[in-house]
């Protein structure tokens, strides 16, 4: 499935740009150069708004809409992400032949950087919409862990939505990156309405998931335990190798949950 993600990216960004074109005039090359700075180390950054425009000591009020200039700036950021994500179709991927894996890793790092820039843009304006949610969802199941982390971070900034929650749960199935799972388990706490699906994900991860992901799940499961699911996890632990790290951690956290329930 993950190998279809490029196709999804094309569809998502095509729809975004199609929508943009209908309301925003084409951006001139000169404007593009002015609004986006390229910094060294693959860390391009937005220049707008300037330091003088920022009121650092006061909370920014959630923005209701983006100005035309901001829409243009966002389109540039989104285009940069799209171009890089689809580079295999256009034979424009960054190349590094110093090592068999170097090209893939380079592309992943650059993509993560661009997603972070995209997130910075929205965070600074405190503006999130369906487009920013769609961009985040698109990259949740990317094979590169850095890209996944950046996508989860972007999801974390937005109000919980069923679509985001489902996308995150699906992205975590069969994952083998323990750090991504740790980050995602914090985010999933915001989706109590999806707890049955989350429980299933966690149970499967514990039973037949990646070894390191299973250990991470067992260590961080306490906030996900509740009166409805604790028995199910007790059954799960009884089926695990009894002296495994995951079994010991799960057992420990179930006991802690029971103590919390009973008042110690």
């Amino acid at each position: 499935m993950k190998y279809l993600y490029s196709l999804i990216v094309v569809v998502v960004f095509a729809s975004i740009f199609w929508g943009m074109r209908s309301e925003v005039p084409a951006v001139s090359e000169a404007v593009e150069k002015k609004s986006v700075l390229s910094s060294t180390g693959g860390s391009p950054s937005l220049q707008e708004p300037s330091a003088a425009d920022l009121e650092l000591d006061r909370a920014v009020t959630r923005q209701q809409q983006l100005t035309k200039g901001e829409l243009q700036a966002r389109e540039l950021l989104a285009r940069g992400i799209s171009d890089l994500a689809n580079c295999h179709q256009t034979y424009s991927c960054p190349q590094d032949f110093s090592d068999p894996r170097a090209s893939d890793i380079k592309q992943g790092r650059m993509l993560a950087d661009k997603l972070e820039e995209y997130a910075d843009f929205h965070r600074q304006r405190d503006y999130f919409d369906e487009e920013s949610a769609e961009v985040a969802r698109t990259f949740l199941d990317h094979p590169d862990g850095f890209v996944q982390e950046a996508a989860i971070d972007l999801v974390s900034m937005q109000a919980p939505s069923e679509a985001n929650g489902h996308a995150l749960i699906n992205a975590l199935k069969d994952g083998y990156d323990a750090k991504v799972m740790e980050q995602a388990m914090k985010e999933l706490q915001r989706y109590p309405g999806l707890q049955p699906e989350i429980d299933q994900l966690l149970a499967e991860s514990l039973q037949t998931g990646s070894f390191y992901v299973a250990q991470e799940v067992a260590l961080n499961i306490l906030p996900h335990l509740n009166a409805e699911n604790v028995q199910m996890f007790e059954q799960v632990v009884s089926g695990l190798p009894q002296h495994s790290v995951r079994a010991k951690a799960l057992k420990s956290n179930i006991r802690e949950f029971r103590l919390r329930q009973s008042g110690g």
Binding site: Y3, P100, S103, D120, G209, L222, V245, S252
Partner: protein
């Protein structure tokens, strides 16, 4: 600029480790993670070394006493000391059968080594597959094993540990030292994973490699270049292409013009020829390593052997694993047990070394016998001379490397010589020497320090007065404590005993006794409440510490929500420094950096946090995560345990220092080394977070330089804060 303050030298149990350059470590520790970089053995060793990778590790980084080898099984070049990545004594104790001995006749040793490694690999990879896919067919298990054998051949000719002629234990380091272990995990991409032990520990190394390989193996089913799910050769080739080249390269093996086609051809050759079988006399030879135990992450696992486990005649002297979960010795017709197999050492000290390998009898066979289960805390406390138990306080006599696990990977920092710590866990190994490790909290992180053996433990740590402990996690007798949970805590007649009363949130009580029990180091406080004596549960230490969720010292405030102006933060990941929050990029500050916080900014719906800091001459803002919604601040930066001296603290000067009218101003006088001066105020300024203290000496008030924070802290070189209680 003075060099870093990291004066430790760490003694392994057998050998003295070499100095580890903390400065370099910090620079290297940018965040990088993801997948395993695979390097074809020959290409790896003879290929280019100039790679623009996330971690600019130099060639042969932390590679000591490098030796060469030969292009044959078990001994490919190069190999470097296991130290400082892991503890060689641990390797020798646990993995002796799979260490290639360079000091014996080569041909016979290769035969022995291959037999052992084949048995270990065969069981390990099958265990992994069946754990992930319990319904895997026998054909798939065999194919998976063969694919992994070929992968290990392609990577390193099945090389991992070597007992070299220089007397040091080595591990393979290919590709100019960048590739670690049998599956060649590259330090340029996976530095944090290597710090966790995924390189030196043979099972961690193999598992880490299989995590990616299995993902690719499963994805290969739907790859266009794989004709069917049971075309095992195609699946193996696709899995290897991904393993070697990345997720986008699943069909690379079909392209003879690909730059890396040679790697795919090399893998296929090995898969087809199975050359390793030339060295394996018995393909079904049983491994003596407890593969399931190591694969499930246990630190120490005894050897296994095929004996009749249900025959009581085989029980005495052995480690007996009961189906009810306990690990036991069969002594005097009864089972003497502990809950955790890791604690069997206590029973071994009491009853002598095991005389056979471990066994697991059925419940029916053991049902008729008495079973005594001992708590680890009381058992070890009584059996091990000079052991400090959980809750007690120790002084670190020297700076000692803090490791993620006992004898495991160094975490990149050390305990502070002279500082008092609370013991949070203990681990003992070796019956005679009784090597001991303590879990402590340093740098806001939990880790283990080595604390000597029965004959020299006093050189490493010593008991210290509780009154000198600053970081109290487990309050002690006479302390006043406060109940934290909103619903209160139940007072019970004994730990986990009958309910007596509920003590409400906020209630303040005097501690009469402290009891630590169980495999999680659960803490109970004996208290008096409304004329009732009883015990309160106070949280656990292991598998996720919850102590502060239950009990806090009276007067203790909950931990700071986040760093504030005047605090020092340590970055948990590399973060871009920008001119304003979300503004233009100035520089990327590497993971691990210590920075003084000039100010903070919180803005936005989710309370996005920014720290104003200076790094390498740039003053700007770092994003620090969000405080609302999903709290993410710990992913970015944490409060450093290193703090500046407060007004009124005394400084013991460790070298002559110049007192000036202002920071870097006109000279007043030189204050000699060894002098104690009282701090009036502190100032942090300059490109490298230079620290100055205003002090009074011989009637003159002025500023002294006290080191800098970046690129690595040198505060310890200049002075030591003396807290006088």
């Amino acid at each position: 600029m003075k060099c870093l303050s990291f004066p430790l030298e760490v003694m392994s149990r057998l050998k003295i480790n070499q100095l580890k350059n903390q400065n370099t470590m910090k620079i290297l520790s940018k965040n990088a993670r993801g997948v395993v970089l695979l390097i074809l053995g020959l290409v790896g060793v003879h290929g280019t070394s100039s790679v623009a990778a996330p971690y600019e590790t130099p060639d042969y980084y932390l590679c000591y006493n490098r030796v060469g080898g030969e292009w044959n099984f078990g001994r490919v070049p190069s190999a470097c000391d296991v130290t400082p990545w892991g503890d060689p004594a641990y390797v020798e104790e646990n993995f002796a059968p799979v260490i290639f001995n360079d000091n014996t006749e080569r041909g016979a040793e290769r035969q022995r080594y291959m037999q052992e490694v084949h048995a270990m690999l065969r069981e390990s990879v099958a265990y992994y597959l069946l754990a992930r896919k319990p319904d895997a067919s026998e054909a798939e298990v065999l194919a998976w094993q063969r694919a992994n054998f070929a992968k290990a051949h392609q990577e390193t000719f099945w090389t991992h540990y070597r007992d070299a002629t220089d007397g040091n234990l080595k591990m393979v380091r290919g590709d100019y030292g960048h590739g670690h272990g049998m599956v060649q995990i590259d330090d340029r991409w996976h530095f944090p994973k290597l710090e966790e032990g995924k390189g030196w520990h043979i099972f961690e190394n193999i598992i880490y490699g299989m995590e990616l390989f299995y993902d690719a193996w499963e994805d290969a089913v739907s790859a266009s270049c794989v004709s069917s799910a049971d075309n095992w050769r195609d699946r193996a080739r696709s899995a290897y292409s991904v393993y070697n080249g990345g997720a986008s390269k699943i069909c690379r093996w079909t392209d003879p013009n690909d730059v890396w086609a040679g790697n795919d051809i090399g893998f296929a050759d090995k898969y087809d020829s199975q050359t390793w079988l030339n060295y394996v006399v018995d393909p079904l030879f049983p491994t003596s390593l407890d593969v399931a135990c190591f694969m499930e992450g246990n630190p120490g696992c005894s050897a296994v052997a095929p004996v009749d486990a249900d025959d009581p005649a085989n029980w005495p002297g052995r480690q007996v694993y009961l189906t009810s979960g306990e690990s036991c010795r069969f002594e005097g017709g009864a089972f003497e047990c502990v809950d955790n197999p890791a604690d069997m050492m206590c029973l071994s000290i009491v009853y002598g070394a095991p005389t056979g390998t471990s066994i697991s009898p059925t419940a029916e066979a053991t049902a008729a016998y008495t079973k005594n289960v001992y708590d680890r805390h009381s058992c070890f406390g009584a059996a091990v001379t000079g052991l400090s138990t959980v809750g007690q306080t120790i002084r670190s006599e020297i700076a000692i490397n803090v490791r993620a696990t006992p004898g495991g990977s160094a975490m990149g920092f050390a305990s502070q010589a002279g500082k008092v710590y609370q013991v949070l866990d203990f681990v003992v190994s070796d019956i005679n020497s009784q090597y001991r490790y303590y879990m402590i909290r340093e740098n806001n992180r939990l880790g283990y320090i080595y604390a000597g053996k029965v004959s020299d433990f006093g050189n490493w740590t010593s008991p210290a007065p509780y009154s000198e402990l600053e970081d109290v996690l487990i309050p002690q007798v006479e302390d006043k404590i406060r109940v934290v949970p909103e619903s209160g805590i139940n007072l019970r007649s004994a730990p986990d005993g009958a309910l007596v009363a509920n003590v409400p949130a906020g209630a303040k009580l005097k501690v009469d006794s402290v009891v630590v029990r169980g495999v999680d180091n659960s803490v109970y406080y004996g208290v008096q409440f409304q004329n009732n004596a009883g015990y309160l549960y106070g949280g656990k230490v292991l598998n996720g510490m919850t102590l502060k969720d239950w009990i806090m010292l009276d007067g203790e405030e909950p931990g700071k929500d986040h760093a504030e102006a005047g605090d020092i933060i340590q970055l948990a990941t590399g973060i871009n420094l920008r001119d304003v929050p979300g503004g233009s990029w100035l520089v990327t500050v590497p993971r691990g950096s210590l920075l003084y916080v000039h100010s903070i900014v919180i803005q936005g719906t989710n309370d996005y946090l920014y720290y104003e800091v200076t790094y390498n001459g740039h003053r700007g803002f770092l994003y620090g995560g969000q405080l609302e919604g999903t709290r993410t601040i710990d992913n970015w930066a944490v409060l450093a345990s290193l703090t500046l001296a407060d007004s009124g603290d005394k400084l013991l000067l460790r070298q002559d220092v110049e007192q000036r009218v202002a920071p870097a101003g006109d000279l007043i006088q030189v204050i000699p080394e060894g002098t104690k001066v009282k701090v009036i105020t502190s100032v942090v300024m300059g490109d490298n977070n230079d620290v100055y203290y205003q002090v009074k000496y011989e009637g003159q008030t002025g500023f002294i330089f006290a080191g800098h924070l970046t690129p690595a802290s040198t505060l310890g070189d200049w002075s030591e804060t003396v807290k006088e209680k």
